[in-house]
């Protein structure tokens, strides 16, 4: 009896083995083993910052591509791309580290409220309804759509200012907040040497007088900074200045001439000599409290 059982089970097993072997040959899907290797060194956050669906998608794209030009994991940066390049034996594209920058400095004091919104606390919903609680229809709404999309806990609303603030340590420049902001305030900018960077912290397109009335810290499009800039990095369009970070050489001349303090400098050492005497509450003091 035992013998029959052993033989029959053995036979079934053998038939099954043959079938499975045939099936595995017939329906084999070849996956480049390097994809798994590349995926191994990627951060695994699946944030989508590279433009591909998750780290797996990016790894496959890296393996498939002829060169790594244009392929960048913003979270891992140059270090991770270097590892990817070693695995694949390709040249890694040099990548400038980037960071998310919130271009609004309309704090609660600078930008008085003109109405109260009691609807759903979401920037995208509020912006489909109207311009916002203050006279400025371009500025940060402060309901935190950027906060909820950030996978890295790198952006928060400061309750004192009502504005979104980026945590430099945590920001991976994946760009999720840039896409989430309905006001297009957040921009990915060059992180800069020693994290030093200069930017116009305002996107208000209203004429100077109107912008100023709505927000004391607004860019009024006076073009003083444009004239001052020795590198032609500043353009003024629609009454608002924009600093091209590829041209900016961080001389800080524009910061000094801005009458409203809309141009911010970050992580610079204190100036040796103040060129002009400034009133007690200079915009510079505000900057430091506003944006880390």
């Amino acid at each position: 009896m035992i013998l029959i059982a052993v033989i029959s089970l053995g036979a079934i097993g053998a038939i099954g083995a043959v079938f499975l072997y045939a099936a595995s040959k017939k329906f084999e899907v070849y996956e480049d083993p390097r994809i798994a290797q590349v995926q191994e060194v990627l951060p695994g956050a699946n944030c989508g910052g590279c433009g591909y669906p998750g780290c797996g998608g990016f790894a496959a794209a890296c393996v498939k591509a002829d060169s790594l030009d244009g392929l960048l994991c913003p979270v891992g940066g140059a270090e991770v791309m270097g590892k990817v390049a070693t695995i694949l034996g390709k040249e890694a594209a040099s990548a400038e580290p980037m960071i998310a920058v919130v271009r609004c400095n309309g704090t609660c004091e600078a930008r008085p409220r003109t109405n109260r919104y009691d609807g759903v606390q979401s920037c995208s919903i509020a912006s489909t309804l109207y311009g916002g609680e203050t006279g400025c229809t371009f500025g940060c709404l402060g309901y935190g759509d950027c906060v909820s999309v950030c996978n890295f806990d790198a952006i928060h609303i400061n309750p004192a200012t009502g504005l979104a603030e980026v945590d430099e340590e945590k920001c991976t420049s994946c760009g999720a907040c840039v896409k989430a902001c309905p006001k297009n305030i957040i921009e990915l900018r060059k992180k800069g040497p020693k994290s030093r960077r200069i930017f116009v912290s305002c996107v208000n397109k209203d004429k100077g007088g109107v912008a100023k009335k709505a927000c004391a810290n607004a860019c009024i499009g006076c073009s003083k900074c444009q004239k001052e800039c020795p590198f032609e990095a500043i353009t003024i369009e629609n009454n608002v200045a924009y600093i091209d970070y590829t041209k900016c050489r961080l001389c800080r001349k524009c910061v000094a001439v801005c009458p409203t303090g809309a141009i911010h400098e970050l992580n610079f050492p204190p100036r040796k000599v103040e060129p002009k005497e400034a009133p007690a509450s200079t915009p510079k003091v505000k900057e430091e409290t506003n944006l880390k």
Partner: protein, 443 residues
């Protein structure tokens, strides 16, 4: 048994406080602000510049595209500036500021009260005159009227349906217009019938306006082809697709235009504007606006020039009551809270509603209890709770598959939700997003 539409609907308290008030002509203000976007479609292009003298009825801005409308001056005076102004959209948009001097009208406008019945114009000429007068749908959607009167090839209009239901609570501007201008409206309907070559028109009126129904029925006897149909009170019967269903029992397919069901729907106010434009050469520069609210001392119906600040109207109705929480442009269901009382009256302003503090508070939201009340009341047969969730979790494909773009934003779902969920806020935002995705896919 009175008819109404067959899917969903609600019956909020009617609160027609100004129903027995005659139309009062409001004096012209010192300055008017006339926005260049008072209609759906491309903004109009200004043809006047700073310092230009204008008369009442002078063309200020030309239609900026096929779906767009001309804009005329509502006052005489001088153009002060062309600058951005906050309008009822809550955003700053270009507008023409005019300082008022006197009240001089263009000579071509017939200012007499005499009723002109005869019209020898061809249908093309009627449509051209309507386009020239800058007439848009005055029910609130402000769709340019001439576009509706030019059916796309392959479609044939069979009937004109006149929307006189005024299903929004509080509002009585159409009601008061029917009581005072019934004959003019009927002539206007005749002109619309001629414009699209049909010989049948039905005016749908909800039966909470028995005086208007009686009067219109009496007058309509001498206008062949026009029938008055009393309808059961049900919100949102003023929605184009709901009204077509209620009146001729036809349904418009998802994504299709009402003309595909053979119907051209026009508001009763639009019919009056058509009469004035075609028979009196008067462009659209004034309209009837209801100013109302439970705490308002004198709820009224005003005949207002476009561009008049809302604050002037409220002043005329007795001022802003002490405990006002919100000022709504439009009715309580589809209207929108205004961010300033200086917002100007535009072609789409059917009413101004002042809500008290207690009425205007949003109640705290709770979890969905899956009672499906929103599904029952949705007049488009959608599943609002699903659409809200799809929007919240950015599931745009799911939202599209469940016809989010068919939402008419009537707010019945939010009104009925026992958990106070802001269904419409989400759906409106999701609808915009999905429409953007569809546009991007097509281009």
């Amino acid at each position: 048994m009175l008819r109404t539409f067959r899917i969903g609907g609600i019956h909020p308290p009617e609160n027609k406080l100004s129903a027995d008030k005659k139309i009062t002509v409001l004096a012209t203000p010192k300055q008017v602000i006339i926005p260049l976007s008072q209609h759906i479609g491309a903004p109009a292009q200004a043809v006047v510049k700073k310092g230009d003298p204008v008369k009442v009825g002078t063309l200020l801005a030309k239609a900026g595209g096929f779906v767009s409308a001309n804009i005329h001056s509502s006052v005489s005076g001088k153009v002060n500036k062309i600058d951005n102004a906050i309008d009822s959209s809550g955003y700053k948009r270009p507008a023409i500021y005019i300082d008022v001097e006197g009240d001089e009208w263009e000579e071509t406008i017939d200012r007499s009260d005499a009723l002109v019945k005869e019209c020898t114009l061809s249908s093309k000429e009627i449509v051209d005159k309507i386009a020239a007068a800058g007439i848009v749908g005055l029910g609130g959607a402000t769709f340019p009227t001439q576009v509706k009167l030019m059916p796309p090839p392959g479609n044939k209009a069979e009937i004109i349906i006149i929307n006189a239901v005024e299903c929004e609570p509080y509002l009585t501007s159409d009601h008061s217009l029917m009581l005072e201008k019934s004959e003019q409206i009927l002539v206007g309907v005749t002109l619309l019938m001629k414009a699209v070559h049909v010989n049948k028109a039905i005016i749908g009126i909800e039966n909470n306006k028995p005086d208007a129904i009686a009067l219109m029925q009496k007058q309509a006897v001498s206008y062949p082809g026009i029938e008055i149909m009393p309808l059961k009170v049900q919100y949102p019967q003023g929605g184009e697709k709901q009204l077509i269903d209620a009146v001729i029992r036809r349904q418009v397919k998802s994504g299709a235009l009402p003309i595909s069901a053979g119907a051209v729907v026009q508001n009763v106010g639009t019919a009056y504007a058509v009469y004035e434009a075609v028979q009196k050469n008067k462009p659209l520069f004034e309209r009837v606006v209801t100013v109302t609210g439970k705490a308002v001392s004198n709820p009224s119906n005003f005949l207002v020039r476009m561009g008049t600040p809302i604050s002037t109207l409220i002043e005329a109705a007795g001022g802003i009551p002490e405990n006002t929480g919100k000022i709504i442009g439009g009715g309580p269901m589809m209207g929108k809270a205004l961010i300033s009382a200086e917002v100007p009256v535009t072609k789409g302003s059917s009413g101004v509603l002042l809500l008290t503090q207690e009425e205007s508070v949003r109640k705290p939201m709770h979890d969905c209890i899956r009672c499906a009340k929103c599904v029952n009341v949705c007049p488009m047969g959608l599943n609002p709770t699903l659409l809200m969730n799809a929007t919240e979790f950015k599931e745009w494909e799911l939202a599209e598959k469940n016809y989010i773009t068919d939402c008419i934003e009537c707010g019945s779902c939010s009104y009925t939700c026992p958990a106070n969920r802001p269904l419409l806020d989400y759906i409106r935002s999701g609808k915009g997003k999905v429409m953007g995705i569809i546009r991007a896919r097509k281009s």
